[in-house]
Amino acid sequence: MSETLLQVRDLKMHFPIKEAAGLGRTKKVVQAVDGVSFELKAGASLGLVGESGCGKSTTGRMITRLLTPTAGEIVFKGTDIAQLKERELRPFRRQLQIVFQDPYSSLNPRQTVSNIISTPLRVHNLVKKGQELARVQELLERVGLNPEHHNRYPNEFSGGQRQRIGIARALAVEPEVIIADEPVSALDVSIQAQVMNLLEDLRKDLGIAFVFIAHDLGVVRHFCDEVAVMYLGKIVEQGSRDQIYNAPQHPYTQALLSAAPDLGTIRGVPPKERIRLVGDVPSPIDPPSGCRFRTRCWKAEDICATQEPLLEIKPQSTQGHTAACHFAEPKVDLIAETA
């Protein structure tokens, strides 16, 4: 068993919102993340999946402390960093890095690539003066870019290349954990595969642990050993890749898998069972009582409105597979198995 690097316990992020002040003014909050817990082992990769607004990115931003959580713990190697002050946080920043979704807005257009990558090196005093360039070039080579291009500006690179620059910047400080927030969703498929393979190499060669945030179930299946499915600020199901994809228990996970357009349909594989959700995700300002998924769930009964289901191991589940549903039961025939 490898050691646990990062432990997140009951993490919450409530954003206060300004409402027009009337009589009986009440303070409202957006419950973006509401009690999320998971563990990340050294060198592992955990996928956070869900639709927009489910709180997956907010969770990523809290772990890297770009946001300060409203409540909960983020224990990194024994220290709770959830409420640390900026100064105390600095040594941890080096070990927890983030790669953003949009390679266009996450790089400063007025700085050369060399500058972008060497800034973290300087901030953390990681290289001697005069050796910066050598290190930058080494990093560029590591992510598959031409080291000669260190003097160029971001606009001279394509989307995929920019994403590589963002990855090189994160790698510069030799982190132990990288939070990858939709790292390939802005890229074309052929380029997406290049970047996915790069991330996989980094994970294998450097032993970096990943929290991989994505909405694309195919990408997550490809990259992650462990998967947590989020809905409206909560984890609804968590387990190993095989548990989640081959025997999903939560109705929402089942609906997600069923909705993913799949090439299997054309390759002569009989069409999978179709589950279609109705309606949209409810507002996180005033989430449904009890189970948050009940408004779109075909299994919902009275108990779902009154009693919130806990994320727990069900009698029928295999080890480590948890689901938050009163009526959880595995479905095995949702995706066409081609392998």
Partner: protein, 375 residues
């Protein structure tokens, strides 16, 4: 440029104003994979933009056809010309900044070169478009109802009440709950999925025979995407319209398309029925696309990306545009791939499945090398 497209240029010239029925049938038969009489026929379409850096050839020698009741998916990456070609069909390019040649016929009527006022009568009526981002394609300052009524009254001389009745029907049809209340709401009061439904209602309000859907679900979440794709499928069954679906997502193609056209660097590189193109592809670029997608059903093995980047449209390479990224170039004798643009030819000597590639043994390469890896 050594341009040798599927249709000779002179054939297009005399096609400008109604070719004889016999020629039209022959030509259409030769380019439609289904064999049905097409409603939309695009022939040898080229779209070029003069820019300060030179002439950008966004679309070159593109030919396809779509019969009523059928869906053609145009697949390609950014910059492949899939959106540009469809905007040309809709006549949405700025005439002063675009050079469009070739032929686009809708129900037999030529659209290329049609004056703007004539085009206005067709656009939104016989053909309409669903855009990718319903947030930016609906007017934020008018209510949804207002916009629907306007779309209807532009093409029908009816009173506002009649138009409102029709609008409410359409909102109901696309599955928007409580149409009467939604009618008087503004776009920002709609969620992304509901907005796209409203957009679809607007594009279908005049009962168009051709609907062009440009990445209609790319901005949506996967469960909502499934709803919208089902909706498009059901509406097509009901109205029998021809759909051109533009997408980069091969999963969406697999669920929606009857025919598939793969574009690369402004050209069609493979064209056929969905089964032909997705289950028996005969072009290395299509293979590359299929191999680079991680699917929900595939086993966890290393992805095989296409190396490199697409060529610049300012300066297309001589020969096959894909040659610089193609792993099979050395299996073609001599330097054919880098010197001569391959024609779009039937993959098995006859038939409607065509691909643009010099490779001789495409079928056996696919069967022995690619298919086993795809599982």
């Amino acid at each position: 440029m050594a341009e040798s497209a599927a249709t000779p240029a002179d054939a297009t010239a005399d096609a400008q104003r109604g070719p004889s029925v016999a020629t039209r049938e022959r030509r259409q038969g030769s380019i439609n994979p289904s064999g049905e009489t097409p409603y939309l026929v695009v022939e040898d379409l080229a779209v070029k933009f003069p820019t300060a850096d030179g002439l950008v050839s966004a679309v070159n020698g593109l030919s396809y056809s779509v019969p009523l009741g059928r869906t053609l998916a145009i697949v390609g990456e950014s910059g492949s010309g899939k959106s540009v070609s469809s905007m040309a069909v809709m006549g949405l390019h700025d005439r002063k900044r675009t050079r469009i040649t070739g032929s686009i016929r809708l129900g037999g009527d030529e659209l290329v070169g049609l004056p703007e006022n004539e085009l206005m009568k067709i656009r939104g009526d016989a053909m309409s478009m669903v855009f990718q981002d319903p947030q930016s394609s609906l007017h934020p300052l008018y209510t949804i109802g207002n916009q629907l009524v306007e779309a209807y009254r532009v093409h029908h001389k009816v009173s506002k009440d009649v138009a409102k009745k029709r609008s409410l029907e359409m909102l109901d049809l696309v599955g928007i709950p409580n149409p009467a209340r939604r009618f008087s709401q503004y776009p920002h009061e709609f969620s992304g999925g509901m907005r796209q439904r409203a957009m679809i209602a607007m594009s279908l309000i005049n009962d168009p025979k051709l609907v062009i859907a440009d990445e209609p679900t790319t901005a949506l979440d996967v469960t909502v995407q499934a709803q919208i794709l089902d909706l498009l499928n059901n509406l097509q069954k009901e109205f029998g319209s021809a759909i051109v679906l533009i997408t980069h997502d091969l999963g969406v193609v697999a669920e929606m398309a009857d025919d598939v056209l793969v574009m690369y660097a402004g050209r069609c590189v493979e064209y056929g029925t969905a089964e032909d193109v997705l289950a028996n592809p005969r072009m290395p670029y299509t293979w590359g696309l299929l191999e680079s997608i991680p699917t929900v059903s595939a086993a966890n093995e290393r992805l095989r990306p296409i190396k490199g980047l697409p060529p610049s449209l300012l300066n297309l390479p001589q020969g096959c545009s894909f040659s610089a990224r193609c792993p099979y170039v050395d299996r073609v004798k001599g330097e054919l791939c880098t010197t001569q643009l391959p024609d779009l030819l039937p993959v098995d000597g006859a038939g409607a499945h065509t691909s643009r590639c010099h490779l001789h043994d495409k079928a056996s390469i696919y069967e022995t090398e690619i298919a086993p890896r795809l599982g």
